[in-house]
């Protein structure tokens, strides 16, 4: 039986190549998109699951400020303390996320990401060793475990256990282990690990939060229970912090941001997107199948007349559509293989389609699901006709009464479900177009909005070790070159707002508690970034008290403190040993973080050496400036590589996920439109074919070509207009929600909707007109031949 169905399906496909092509192409494009997105989703969901103990591993985090803030940095001794005090915690280790250290071998220095960890690190996490013994690797103080990639970078080979490397030019370490390359889907990333026992004293104090901590719970404890137990631990040591500990499961770390939201949002959005695109492709299939059904009605009638039951017909049509979707799947897999590398570039991922059991099953699942969704409607519709209506000679004229039986008559052409499907398809396309326009408008706005500081041609040079000690000399040397306009040493990066702390001043009201971001900058700060003063003056080398007793704050800080005449007022920041000073000036507000947030209070202190050197280059010879920077750095630290970046890029990176989403949506909308047009093309072809006789008669009666064109396109244009009216409010709502993420955002103008609607309309018109023109130009003698 099944073979019989398959034969008919295959011969039908071959006979109607055009329809088959549209059907398979539409489904294949939809599936390709769906598979790619699902690969990405699968990759996102796979993070940190490869550890043997993944289910029992947790990160220690804390909430502060009555749950308004959640952080992950905790004091170093906390990890060991928790393990000793709580029997549920079987093991624990510290880890530091962003520490750059210099390792050198035979005079060649390499900056790499290293971390202090407890020796139990390898008992907790599953990072396989290429060489060395995991149990003893970090038991000696002066030992180091590095990844295969770093070993190859430093030594040119991987078997380096027993070799010595120098850290920060200070101590020699013995390589005790080499790890296989870290899986990319691990949120814990590093180049090398060294024992926590040799960490600097600052990392071992209870009053400085400088490290993250991970714990391994025993199998019978839940993280909720343990979270409750350890909640007060930090307060016992530092009551003023009002920090409460809790545990975050390892598997959630990548997807769920501590403060709420996180990548899970995108995982959900894109999963829905994958489904919608597949749905659009299915709608296409349904549409084309139902319009093709008139051609199949005879076959259905015959099958009923030779004894087929309704169920058997449904089975036939379902197996037919599953067959077509399987063909589409094969095409889709080929497309995925072709597209995967550009997509990886776009997403900054290393996705690939491995043909393991699970994936194969998933793919077959997609084909089955698509086949069933796409085939169910035609199957149930077609099988519900009564055979007599399909075979009777005069069936067009007989109005059949029907409860289950449907008219297989001229009513087919007026059948509204098909129009509903076209409207749905176009509504989805228009929705996408609106989203793309709004997202790119917003990104444009971000790119063009005055930040209050000028990031153009600013090179960021990280100074550490020797370079940091001689930063004043380095700066002087750099400024010798005419291509370097100015340079400023700054402690914290200008793309973030950090080192925040409360501010106290005389006359402060209890309800005026706020946090102020702090940064340490040098005298050339204003000049380098083109920041303007609003009031008072900036730090000056000529006034010695500026170094110890002066603050420059931004306008937001003045507003937060409610001061009318801020210059001259004294403020205190209780950070470390309390920083005190007089406000000597107010700078105009400038952005120190992404446009997602309002400009927050910010205070500056003066310093001469910071970890970062911002170098303003002349616009006309950037390569010259860069050559000079490299040469100068080499002169100061000949062993070390010179690593720099551009402030503009670093600021742009703040919006990388938006940028990515915009690009993805752009492609998605393109695909949705292509698929929709394929469907519309098929429908128009059908409509023209069905009305051949009508067109012939009208022509004989004197209708003009343009009149016929209007006749044939009017129907579809109305559908697209309706789709617009449906899509606009939904798109408006969705984009409004998305824009709420930005403190600084564009409005959604009516032009957006007009552009989206008009482009959809034009594309539809273009698609339909091909068929309409063809039909309108046909010689009536040919079309009326058979009458």
């Amino acid at each position: 039986m099944f073979r019989n169905y398959l034969k008919v399906a295959l011969r039908n496909m071959v006979r109607h190549k055009g329809y088959s092509f549209i059907n398979v192409a539409g489904l294949a494009i939809g599936m390709t998109c769906c598979i790619l997105i699902l690969l990405w989703v699968q990759d996102e969901l796979s993070y940190d699951r490869f550890h043997d103990n993944a289910g029992q591993l947790h990160r220690v985090a804390f909430s502060a400020d009555a749950e308004r803030f959640r952080g992950e940095y905790v004091p170093g001794p906390l990890a060991a303390y928790l393990k000793d005090e709580y029997p549920e915690i079987v093991n624990s280790t510290v880890f530091c996320k962003h520490s750059r250290m210099k390792l050198s071998v035979e005079g060649n220095g390499f900056f790499c990401a290293g971390s202090f960890v407890d020796p139990s690190f390898f008992e907790m996490f599953t990072f396989p060793f290429a060489q060395g013994d995991p149990k003893r690797a970090l038991s000696e103080p002066l030992s180091v475990v590095m990844t295969r990639d770093l070993a190859e970078r430093m030594f040119g080979r991987a078997d380096v256990v027993g070799k010595a490397v120098t850290i920060e030019g200070a101590a020699d370490l013995n390589v005790t282990g080499v790890l296989e390359s870290l899986p990319h889907n691990s949120h814990i990333q590093f180049d090398f690990l060294i024992p926590y026992s040799i960490a600097p004293p600052g990392m071992k104090r209870w009053d400085i939060k400088s490290l993250t901590a991970y714990v391994l719970l025993d199998k019978n404890s839940s993280h909720e229970q343990v979270s409750e137990k350890i909640s007060g631990v930090l307060n016992e040591h530092n009551p003023t912090w009002e920090n409460y500990l809790f545990l975050q499961p390892l598997k959630q770390i990548h997807l769920y941001a501590l403060g709420g939201g996180g990548r899970i949002t995108y995982v959900v959005i894109f999963s829905i997107l994958a489904f919608i695109i597949l749905l659009v492709a299915c709608i296409n299939f349904m549409n084309l199948s139902t319009v093709r059904s008139e051609k199949r009605l005879k076959e259905i009638g015959i099958r009923m007349a030779v004894g087929s039951s309704r169920i058997q017909l449904i089975k036939q049509f379902l197996s037919e559509s599953i067959f077509i979707s399987s063909v589409a799947l094969v095409v889709a897999i080929v497309l995925v293989e072709l597209l995967i590398s550009p997509v990886n570039v776009l997403l900054a991922k290393q996705l690939h389609l491995d043909y393991s059991g699970g994936i194969i099953l998933g793919l077959i699942g997609i084909a089955m699901l698509t086949g069933i969704i796409a085939g169910s409607y035609p199957a149930f519709l077609l099988s519900s006709f009564r055979p007599v209506a399909l075979l009777g000679r005069r069936f067009l004229a007989i109005p059949l009464p029907g409860y289950r039986q449907r008219k297989a008559s001229a009513g087919m052409s007026r059948f509204s479900m098909r129009r509903v499907l076209v409207v749905a398809q176009f509504a989805i396309s228009i929705f996408f177009i609106v989203c793309v326009i709004v997202i790119f408008n917003q990104l444009d706005y971000i790119g063009s909005k005055d930040m209050g500081l000028d990031p153009e041609f600013v090179v960021v040079l990280r100074t550490q070790g020797e370079l940091a000690r001689r930063s004043a000399a380095l700066k002087n040397e750099l400024l010798q070159n005419p291509n370097i306009l100015s340079a400023a040493a700054v402690a914290n990066g200008l793309e973030s707002w950090n080192s925040s702390a409360g501010v106290e001043w005389s006359g402060m009201q209890p309800d005026q508690i706020f946090d102020m971001g702090l940064n340490w900058v040098d005298y050339d700060f204003l000049k380098t970034f083109g920041i303007e003063m609003a009031e008072g003056r900036f730090f000056s080398e000529d006034i010695p008290t500026d170094k110890s007793d002066a603050f420059v704050v931004n306008q937001a800080a003045v507003k937060a403190m409610g001061m009318n005449d801020p210059v001259g007022q004294r403020i205190t920041v209780p950070l470390g040993d309390r920083i005190e000073g007089r406000i000597i000036g107010v700078v105009q507000d400038f952005h120190t973080e992404s446009f997602h947030t309002q400009i927050r209070p910010y205070g500056l202190r003066v310093t001469e050496g910071g970890g970062l050197l911002y170098i303003k280059a002349k616009s006309d010879d950037l390569p010259g400036a860069l050559r000079h920077i490299e040469a100068t750095v080499k002169k100061f630290v000949p062993d070390d590589p010179c690593e720099y970046s551009f402030l503009e890029d670093r600021l742009g990176a703040l919006y990388s996920s938006e940028q990515r989403m915009g690009t993805l949506l752009q492609y998605s909308s393109l695909l949705a439109i292509i698929i929709s047009c394929l469907g519309l093309f098929g429908l128009a072809a059908y409509s023209a074919e069905r009305r051949t006789k009508e067109i012939g008669i009208r022509k004989v009666l004197g209708a003009s070509v343009s009149g016929l064109f209007r006749l044939l396109t009017k129907e579809f244009i109305l559908l697209v207009v309706l789709a617009n009216l449906l899509a606009w409010p939904i798109a408006y709502w969705a984009m409004n929600q998305w824009l709420q993420n930005f403190a600084y955002r564009v409005g959604i103008g009516w032009e957006t909707f007009i552009i989206a609607g008009a482009s959809a309309l034009l594309i539809a018109l273009f698609t339909v007109s091909f068929q309409a023109v063809k039909a309108a130009l046909t010689n009536p003698v040919e079309t009326l031949r058979y009458e």
Binding site: A305, G307, S308, G392, R393, L400
Partner: protein, 248 residues
Amino acid sequence: MNEQKLNAKEQETNSEELSMQNGVAPLIRTTNITKSYPSGFGKVFVLRNIDLEVSEGEFITIMGPSGAGKTTLLNIIGMLDEASEGEYSFLDQDVHKLNERKRAELYKQHMGFIFQSYHLIDDLTVYENLETPLLYKKVKGAERKSMVCDTLDRFQIVGKKDLFPSQLSGGQQQLVGVARAVIAKPRLLLADEPTGNLHSSQGEEIMQLLSKLNTEGTTIIQVTHSDKKASYGNRIIYLKDGWIVDKL
């Protein structure tokens, strides 16, 4: 030819006698069958109060002008359509009371249909067209194959088994149509103007084939306009405006 007619006549009397005398239930009995469609405020009647009895082995012809309801009656008997009112029993089962599944089962087991325009499935070969009813009857592979081969042989179309309907002449197509209708050995063969689209000589052949099947025991009901074709049968039912009448 004459012999056949005589045979048929004999059969007719025989069967009538049988059903009358022995009280054996007829193959088909309809009581008050009416078919109507709502139209405006009233109804349009296609069939009115049809009382009919058909015994096993009969060859009945339904005649009448266009629009008299011939095809509708045939379709109702063939369970492709339902009556609006009245009772219909087939092999002592009340068809009007059966659900769709049971009715389909009954139909599948006992009926074959021949159409004026052949109605072969365009995408299937002659062989596959013949095979289709057997597939729906769930006949097993080997048996199915032998049945199809037997039938091809019997209708002398073995050489055409791999051709598609579009590669055959009208007469050949109808031959396949008849072959398909009888392959599952139905008790009742329904033919709606089986020769309407054929040349007279091709039509002759098909009619002879039908009477041969009838002599072999298959009950046949045909619809036709032609007196000549009607003469192959042994009883004629005249329909006019939905009523059974004695004469046209």
